[in-house]
């Protein structure tokens, strides 16, 4: 099993100009450190809403594959959005769930994802492609595959609890949004 930062790095190395929405807490901070790019949107608050933001982008940019880098705590908080995605079925939506089974940004308290199968919920909700991986090579294989086919897709990536020593994203939120908007125009 790899660390979340390694998994984020693998995804960000495989995308070209695709918009990537990163959930709040350490995932955004690690993504900024690993590979900042204008097509990254770093969510800082609004926990649970990364997939909803990504869905708003995906529905209105149907020619671009939109990637959401989400966490298990975030998905559990915004579980209803799995239904919205499953019902609307945007073909260009890739939901990567980095699942460390804890609230890593809140003190490593266990999350229900260790007993509740988020990938099976996504499948039941109507996601077209659903995969679960642990190793980096499997992540690379499945994510590449999802980039090339119609979704919505969900890739559940089991990651370790390891957290990188990373600062806050140093960009002002309004600048993150404006930079992202221009980059994906």
């Amino acid at each position: 099993m790899q660390s979340r930062a390694r998994a984020i790095q693998a995804v960000l190395e495989l995308v070209s100009d695709q918009p990537v929405i990163v959930c709040n807490g350490f995932p955004s901070r690690e993504a900024f450190k690993v590979k900042d790019r204008p097509e990254n949107f770093y969510m800082t608050g609004s926990m649970g809403m990364a997939a909803a933001i990504g869905l708003g982008v995906a529905l209105n940019k149907p020619q671009k594959k939109v990637v959401v880098l989400d966490g298990d705590g975030n998905v559990l908080m915004g579980l209803g959005t799995l239904a919205t995605v499953g019902a609307l079925k945007p073909k260009n939506f890739i939901h990567v769930v980095l699942d460390n089974e804890v609230y890593g940004s809140g003190g490593n308290q266990p999350s229900y994802s260790r007993v509740v199968k988020l990938d099976q919920i996504a499948k039941a909700a109507g996601y077209v492609n659903v995969e679960r991986v642990r190793e980096r090579e499997d992540l690379v294989y499945e994510f590449k595959d999802m980039l090339g086919k119609d979704g919505p897709s969900l890739l559940l990536v089991k990651v370790t609890e390891q957290v990188e020593d990373v600062p806050w994203v140093p960009l002002p939120p309004a600048q993150i949004a404006e930079r992202f908007r221009k980059a994906i125009a």
């Binding site: 649970g48 809403m49 909803a52 869905l55 708003g56 982008v57 209105n60 919205t84 908007r181 994906i184």
Partner: protein, 165 residues
């Protein structure tokens, strides 16, 4: 009473082209019109709706979110830490349930508190009326892009035609 067709057209005329939200019976006529025009994407929660609106805005759309005032409670943190913080404007069309204290009991606290709640988080708001409607729509258009934050238009019962509670 304003026809929902006229109201939706007025919003489209000033640029709104992405509508999402969670239904309220006061909004039923408007939502029906938006569905006929293929402009409405249903959400399951109001915080999801305002987050989708932020995504839509960054993708080049001009978004509006429909909800009852109960939904303002559901979406308050997302409005504060996403839409307001990142300066992602959207129009909030809020059904003002419990406006005059004569409504189902679950609407009374939010009905009484709605304007103060919006003022506390600094979301500019107006209440739509048939007499001031053209001016209300002009206000939305101006405030929306100037402030680049969510603006709210409150809809009381009987102002836009629809199914009444």
């Amino acid at each position: 009473m304003i026809e929902s067709d006229t109201f939706c057209q007025a919003l489209q005329d000033i640029g709104f082209d992405f509508f999402t939200g969670v239904p309220d019976v006061l909004l039923a006529g408007i939502i029906e019109t938006l569905i006929e025009r293929r402009l409405y994407t249903p959400a399951v929660r109001e915080d999801e709706a305002v987050a989708m609106a932020a995504g839509a805005f960054m993708a080049g759309k001009v978004p509006a979110v429909l909800m009852a005032n109960a939904g303002l409670g559901n979406s308050l943190n997302t409005l504060a830490s996403l839409n307001l913080l990142y300066r992602q404007p959207c129009l909030l069309l809020i059904a003002w349930r419990g406006f005059d204290g004569k409504d189902a009991p679950e609407h009374l606290v939010m009905g009484r508190t709605l304007p103060q709640l919006l003022e506390t988080v600094r979301i500019p708001h107006r209440t739509l009326s048939e007499q001031t409607a053209p001016d209300d729509v002009r206000w939305i258009a101006q405030t929306f892009m100037k402030e680049r934050i969510p603006v709210a238009l409150l809809l009381k019962s009987g102002v836009v035609r629809g199914i009444q509670p």
